[in-house]
Subunit: 128 residues, 4 copies
């Protein structure tokens, strides 16, 4: 508590409204599966994959946090209006360039001002 919602494979979900609800709130970590030690490595967190989320002032994605295991690497705070504002929908997307020295396990959190905290699946990165 607060509840941490987790991604569910929406192909296993029947109701269209529920597919949309889960997908548009879920955080997806996108990056290469291997990184070179000491070099800039782009990690993108995208909220929603096949569905878009409202950008209304009372309902928007306000926070995107990137963890490497238990360490918080970076957090972005977004303000309503960044995706077109009232009536618009979109996919919040933030790319952080990080430098890794050893294997990483990324997890992202997204926070929706109406529907709370959502945790991504984790993504492993090998560092050589």
């Amino acid at each position: 508590m607060p509840k941490i919602n987790r991604y569910e494979d929406i192909d296993q979900v029947e109701r269209e409204a529920k597919k949309d609800y889960i997908d548009r709130h879920s955080a997806f970590v996108q990056c290469a599966s291997e990184a070179k030690a000491g070099e800039a490595f782009a990690v993108t967190v995208k909220i929603g994959d096949q569905y878009a989320h409202p950008d209304d002032t009372d309902h928007y994605i306000s926070t995107v946090t990137l963890y490497n295991k238990d360490s918080k690497l970076a957090e972005a705070t977004l303000f309503a209006g960044s995706l077109g504002g009232q009536g618009a929908k979109g996919n919040t997307e933030v790319t952080f360039n990080v430098v890794l020295e050893k294997d990483a396990t990324f997890v992202a959190h997204a926070f929706c001002t109406k529907h709370g905290l959502w945790e991504s699946d984790s993504v492993e990165v090998k560092v050589a």
Copy 2:
């Protein structure tokens, strides 16, 4: 107060140490000069262009803020270690995808935990 430092053209600066100091703290807004209304548009803020900044626990870039005119669109908080950690240097770089409905004027702020607040030159984007 706090002092807001502004970018100076380092080609006009003579002392190497001063070039480095100014460049590695300065925020640069990088994006296309035209955007399509209602479509995702990537805006990158990079700290330092030709020089890199330390990522030491007592000396790192902790905040990157993106303004469109007087509106804060997004703010990223970074933690020491995101660029390799103690002894490493790098260029903090964050990309926000935003959606514009009309012409924008972007300005970014960077905050160094030792050397304070730095404001980028402004960048105009036409929206069609």
Copy 3:
């Protein structure tokens, strides 16, 4: 740019609407004038003194930042609804307990999602 608005003595302002506008956006740093080195010392930042600010989803105080000279000590991000929500008005107020080792000069920034950045007068604290 972004413009940094500064507090003006509202007793010198004639129009009531302007008094209200200035006061309700201005940040006030409230603390004792002397602190003991090494002991917890409460610093309150209050937004608005005689007038209250809306807490609407499209118009609220989202950020309160406390600086000691050029150093950022702490930043609070508030979400619409923290002061009663749509239709309500109030004064955002955050107290940070800090520990000082030498004389401090505090300045606070407030950010209104509609009316931008506001800087407080500075407040000196002697540390003994």
Copy 4:
């Protein structure tokens, strides 16, 4: 993942080092048990009760988040040095003034840059 650590009653913990570890990272929500609807109500989040936490640049409490049920009300980002700096220890303490319209259930999260995320016990507030 990231792991969310939770408070344990340290009276039930035998090892002194473990008592200290748990207590100094735990978030405690302190407020009255009843609030008046529409009036400012102070909610304090204190990190550590009987033990203090380091404020070293590589090991400090960086974030304090206050939730009311699943809603994020406010988040404070602290910077190393706010509690005296390298070698000092202290208890991060932030007070947010909020306005409630109905019964609330507060939970706080604390983030330690070395030991991750900690969740407080929840605190119920009746609003009349």
